[in-house]
């Protein structure tokens, strides 16, 4: 595991872990019990058939009394049909309930993941989450559909068989029991060491998934640096690690399966020896010995099966553990207990009051007492050096993270007191990454307003200066799918779609993180013009790196050392704030052309 805050495998017993499946099993216990009953029934029919056949051969055929023969043959046919029917019923009954358990658990996991804060997602690799949501739940379904049922049925068979054995010949039953005793040791072993290995295999498989996912997403970078072979080596190394764990599992299971094969055989050998001795002493009859050995032979398969089912139990418990590790992470950004609805219509007064924010693993807060007010309808630019916390501050408004001290209010209400959905419905956001999906342009832009009309979408595409290139997309214009993360588009195109998405709802509050950085000069001017219209009606917080963007704002706040250093208009700050001047000063054209001229050896005047 190389996940930060990596979960420690719990020491809870498999049973305790699997008991947490209760809420999912309860609605389907009836068909599952039915399936177990059918399994048991089929087992009995299977045992009954040879007994009847024996009766046919020893009775009517041996004695020549053919009267009962048709009935007995009919009984074989009936038992045979019943066995087939019960076998069918077992799978038929178990299929849907177990698939239901799996799909419900996955749905709940996904819903939980959607509620978990961004901080959780920053820490957990998507590959690990994928492997838990798919592989581990498939493991659980298979366990419930097969091993769990067999474990119950075969334990029952073993107990019944041993019981019968005791009534026939206690002495021989004792031998059988002793030979079955190591099963307890095996169970203990599974509970302790095997479960750890099973867990390791699952974790390693999750890490493998992570490598695959990252390699595919970062494929441009890997190619640009020609590191495909290197990456393959890493992947193969991880796959080999997984393989050696899997081989270890094979070795363990091979050993155990061998043990389980040999135990009943040794029991039978013991019974032969003890029985032969007993018969010689006159304590036992030959009939007792034959009966005991016959029963012991029948019990061979259930014993083997229990061993297999126990190993599956450990694997399933480990998978279950991994599942609940995620489910047990608390969603920290939640709806308040007593929600206060925001004022309607929202005026959009945004205030940061003594806001502190600290990332859990950092020694000191990134934001240390930010005070800032954005008046209704005002556009406030947020300027600061790379890494000064602008993005973090902006993320506090839609509660992608919560302040660690202080508060953020909208129209006087703490954002943490508002229902999450209402808070987020009030605002439109654009992030530093465009965060697009492989869906169509239309679906991407309409993320916040799925019911948006084509005209509205077109209007917001126009604001973002995206109408032209979107219409040129082939084959479907706005209906064209844009590739994973929108990667088939250029950076500027992605950024414009993210901007269109933010302005589509005509929100009272806009939070834009450096919305124009990837645009070329021409497009930037165009977008700027259109954006000014939108910004006139909304309160906006705009993270800015460039003078153009800052100039668009009514006021600018300079972020430095975790605080707001100064607030004022672009011009005021240029005049009064040296830090701002440093941040905004662009290299003078003469100076660079000079450099170019120098390099070129030509003399020109700008």
């Amino acid at each position: 595991m190389n996940v930060e805050g990596a979960p420690i495998p719990t020491n809870a017993s498999s049973l305790a872990v699997l008991r947490r499946l209760g809420p999912y099993l309860r609605p389907v216990w009836l068909p599952i019990t039915g399936a177990a009953a059918a399994t048991f029934g089929a087992l009995l029919c299977g045992l009954g058939i040879p007994l009847v056949v024996q009766r046919v051969i020893d009775g009517p055929l041996g004695s020549g009394d053919f009267g009962r023969l048709p009935w007995l043959i009919a009984l074989v046919a009936v038992l045979g049909t019943a066995e087939a029917g019960l076998l069918w019923a077992r799978r038929k009954l178990i299929a849907r309930p177990t698939a239901l358990v799996e799909s419900r658990m996955r749905a709940d996991l996904f819903a939980h993941l959607l509620r978990l804060p961004v901080a959780f997602h920053d820490r957990w690799q998507t590959g690990q989450l994928m492997s838990r949501a798919v592989n581990d739940l498939v493991t659980l379904r298979k366990y419930l559909a097969f091993a769990a049922v067999f474990l119950v049925v075969n334990s029952l068979t073993l107990v019944v068989g041993l019981g019968i054995l005791f009534t026939i010949a206690p002495e021989l039953a004792l031998v059988g029991l002793i030979s079955a005793a190591p099963l307890l040791l095996i169970t203990y072993f599974y509970e302790t060491s095997y479960k750890k290995v099973a867990r390791r295999a699952q974790d390693q498989s999750g890490d493998l998934t992570t490598i695959v996912e990252e390699t595919m997403l970062g494929t441009r970078v890997i190619r640009a640096f020609g590191r495909s072979a290197e990456r393959t080596r890493q992947f193969v190394a991880q796959a080999r690690r997984l393989r050696s764990t899997e081989l270890r599992i094979v070795r363990i299971l091979g050993g155990l399966s061998t043990g389980l094969l040999i135990l009943p055989e040794l029991g039978i050998a013991g019974q032969l020896a003890v029985g032969g001795w007993g018969i010689a002493d006159g304590r036992l009859t030959l009939g007792q010995l034959v009966a005991a050995i016959t029963i012991s032979t029948y019990l061979r398969w259930p014993t083997e099966c229990i061993g297999w089912a126990l190993s599956e139990t450990s694997t399933a418990a480990a998978a279950c553990d991994r599942y609940w590790e995620i489910r047990d992470c608390p969603p920290t950004v939640t709806d308040p207990a007593r929600p206060v609805s925001p004022a309607r219509p929202a005026r959009g007064r945004l205030r940061f009051e003594n806001v502190h924010f600290q990332y859990p693993d950092q020694p000191r807060p990134l934001l240390r007492g930010v005070d800032l007010e954005v008046r209704p309808g005002e556009t406030m630019a947020l300027v600061g050096a790379t890494g000064s916390g602008k993005t973090t501050l902006a993320a506090l408004v839609p509660r992608l993270a919560d302040v660690t001290a202080g508060r953020v209010t909208v129209d006087g209400v703490d954002v943490r007191d508002m229902p999450l959905a209402e808070l987020r419905a009030m605002m439109g956001c654009a992030f530093e990454d465009a965060l697009l999906s492989s869906a169509s342009v239309r679906e991407n832009v309409a993320l916040g307003v799925p019911a948006a009309s084509d005209a509205d979408i077109r209007a917001s595409l126009r604001v973002a200066g995206a109408e032209g290139f979107v219409d040129a997309l082939r084959p479907h214009g706005p209906g064209t799918r844009i590739g994973e993360r929108g990667m088939s588009l250029s950076g500027g195109q992605r950024q414009r779609l993210a901007l269109a998405r933010a302005v589509l709802p005509r929100p009272a509050l806009l939070v834009l993180d450096d919305p124009l950085s990837a645009l070329d000069l021409h497009t930037e001017a165009e977008v700027e013009r259109a954006l000014r219209e939108v910004l006139r009606d909304a309160t906006a917080l705009v993270v800015a790196h460039r003078p153009n963007t800052a100039r668009m704002a009514d006021r600018v706040a300079v972020l430095a050392d975790g605080r707001v250093l100064a607030v004022g208009t672009h011009q005021e700050l240029l005049d009064s704030c040296p830090h701002y001047r440093t941040l905004m000063a662009t290299p003078g054209p003469t100076e660079t052309v000079g450099a170019a001229r120098h390099a070129d050896g030509e003399v020109v005047t700008p």
Partner: protein, 621 residues
């Protein structure tokens, strides 16, 4: 998701997955099916061939185990018939021998079973590793555009759950298949030898069995195919939703994401329910045929015994063996089921492996001398390019020569073909016509490794991998020392901020570097590029997210770094452009202006207009 055609906009993904999506339907037409089956079988064969010897050994172990187990009942019978009476008579020798023999047989069987486990396990794991490596390597050979449309979730699905289905077949069902084939074959011979007419009754049941198997194979394959498709969709949905969780939460799209997931989830559930229902009918049917046959044999046999045309002993033996004949058929049914599951997975995997790369490795790569004089000369010779065979001509006949060591700035509006040109120079694509040459060698003739050593393309996609900052920088040159990494960072001006991170260069960048700002990620990416130290450096808007002081520092550093190498810079900031030796203005795939920046400013072309806009924009300072 699979019903829509994938993006084919100007600079976008060609329809590379089209052929594959045709195989996503649960019921395939005859021709497709035949092609897909043949391809899957071929793949399975090629996977197993290297392990033939070991598989045969496993088979031998299995035979030994079965022989050991078969001998057991014989020895028990002997113990009861001879040993026990002997012991009663005071001669326990025979009993002791029997017990000892029985124990020995059990031990042999157990040892053989252990051997079989190890052997089949190692074959299974070897096949798994081989298959995984093949898929992963192939994925990395496929063009970037393929991945845009195919998405990482599908590759994950091919490499995990599909591969697991194949492993399941190879590792666990070999046992069932071999054992059951052995016993069915052996017992069939025994039955024929015991009594021909009864044996014919038994063998007659093979007709319904074959029919059932055929039905089962088709139906279960459909169900499994559906399951394979939906599990891939689930992984895609997970990847995209979790990767974009900020947007999903901020735009309250959780409910819709959950709806989509639930639809897929339900589909997956139904596919599995379906699959198991099909298995239920098939295995129960097989058992029914066996049991009915038993009753039939018993009836006919009894009638013949009554008529004295059959000995009772023969019937007894026949009936006993019959049961043993049908038991393994269950195993065979299990095998058929696993095979169906694996076959559906193999279809997907082999389909993926069959996608040919549009930028293949050369068969006989050309060698570029590392010490050649004046290295870094680029030349485009009559290059034409379109993304798809029928698509728009993005670059119509482009000729361009860049002398070694020159820094070229590429400007023009979005869609002018700047990025396309950069991608051609980095061989992310091959030109539709003409050739791209580096120091006189066609890029198509260079081995991947050589090409990447010479040419590095830095795009806006500043993807960071999980690991530390240092590891991310070292991606450019895995053998780089800490000092090299620090030096590169210092050259770009990234050293200070990296040092200020909680663990400095050893700071974990977390998933996709979300904790570094985009400006910081660009700095890490730039550091990477400088560490790579290529002959030709291509920068596609590599500094767009930097604040101005940082960008200035980067520009100053770049002036030094670019001095002795060929560089092509795409930038929207004229400040960057002005530092170049030469500016190319592109419009609609053509170069409309070409010259040193200072001269172009004086001309009355598009570049001078751009320049004036820029001055107007920053002139207030």
């Amino acid at each position: 998701m699979s019903d829509t055609t994938y993006a084919k906009p100007d600079e976008q993904a060609p329809d590379v997955t089209g052929a594959l999506s045709a195989e996503d339907a649960p019921v395939l037409d005859k021709a497709t099916q035949a092609r897909v089956h043949a391809r899957s079988r071929k793949l399975l064969g090629s996977l197993l061939r290297p392990w033939l010897r070991r598989s045969l050994l496993a088979l031998a172990a299995l035979v030994a185990e079965n022989l050991g187990q078969l001998a057991g009942p014989l020895l028990i019978a002997r113990a009861i018939d001879v040993g026990v009476p002997g012991a009663v008579a005071g001669r326990p020798g025979a009993l002791v021998w029997c017990v000892a023999g029985f124990t020995a047989c059990a031990l042999i069987a157990a040892g053989a079973r252990y051997g079989f486990f190890r052997l089949s396990g190692s074959v299974g794991q070897a096949v798994l590793l081989d298959l995984r490596t093949r898929i992963f390597e192939h994925a990395q050979r496929l063009p970037v555009a393929f991945h845009d449309a195919y998405t990482s979730g599908r590759v994950v699905s091919r490499l995990t759950s599909d591969v697991d289905a194949v492993r399941d077949l190879v590792e666990t069902s070999l046992d069932g298949l071999l054992t059951s084939l052995l016993s069915v074959g052996g017992i069939a011979v025994l039955l024929l030898w015991l009594d021909l007419p009864l044996a014919l009754v038994v063998l007659g049941t093979s007709v319904p069995l074959v029919l059932m198997t055929r039905w089962f194979r088709e139906r279960s394959r459909q169900a499994y195919r559906r399951a394979r498709n939906t599990v891939a969709e689930i992984l895609v949905e997970l990847g995209e939703t979790l990767g974009g969780i900020r947007a999903v939460q901020a735009f309250r799209a959780e409910a819709r994401a959950a709806d989509r997931m639930n639809r897929l989830n339900d589909d997956f559930r139904d596919a599995h329910t379906d699959a198991l229902h099909v298995v239920a009918r098939y295995t129960a049917g097989v058992r029914l045929v066996g049991n009915v046959c038993l009753a039939l044999v018993l009836a006919i046999g009894s009638w013949r015994v009554a008529n004295d045309t059959l000995q009772l002993g023969v019937l007894t033996a026949f009936v006993l063996y019959l049961r043993k004949f049908y038991d393994p058929l269950d195993e065979l049914a299990t095998f058929t089921n696993k095979y169906a599951a694996a076959a559906a997975a193999l279809e997907k995997i082999s389909g993926f492996l069959a996608v040919r790369s549009s930028v293949p490795e050369p068969a006989a790569p050309a060698v570029l001398d590392a010490d050649r004089p004046g290295r870094g000369r680029l030349r485009l010779r009559a290059v034409e390019f379109r993304y798809t065979p029928t698509g728009r001509l993005v670059l119509p006949r482009l000729d361009l020569t860049v002398p070694a060591g020159q820094t070229v700035a590429l400007v023009g509006e979005t869609g002018a073909g700047k990025s396309t040109l950069a991608k051609l120079l980095a061989r992310f694509y091959d030109p539709t016509a003409g050739a791209v040459l580096l120091d006189g060698v066609d890029l198509r003739d260079l081995a991947e490794g050589d090409l990447r050593r010479e040419v590095t393309l830095l795009t806006q996609e500043n993807f960071l991998f999980s690991g530390t900052v240092a590891e991310n920088v070292a991606l450019a040159r895995p053998d780089a020392t800490d000092a090299d990494i620090r030096a590169a960072a210092a050259a770009v001006g990234a050293h200070a901020f990296i040092e200020a991170l909680p663990d400095g260069y050893d700071t974990d960048v977390s998933k996709r570097g979300s904790r570094l700002s985009s400006g910081q990620r660009q700095m890490v990416a730039l550091t990477r590029a400088f560490l790579a130290d290529p002959t030709v450096l291509l920068l596609d808007e590599a500094t767009s997210s930097l604040d101005i002081p940082t960008e200035r520092a980067v520009q100053a550093a770049m002036a030094k770094v670019l001095a002795d190498r060929t560089a092509l810079i795409i930038a929207h900031r004229l400040s960057t452009v002005l530092a170049a030796d030469r500016v190319l203005v592109m419009d609609a795939g053509r170069i409309v202006e070409d010259g040193p920046p200072a001269r172009l400013i004086d001309a009355s072309g598009p570049f001078s207009r751009m320049y004036r806009t820029w001055i107007a924009a920053v002139g207030e300072d």
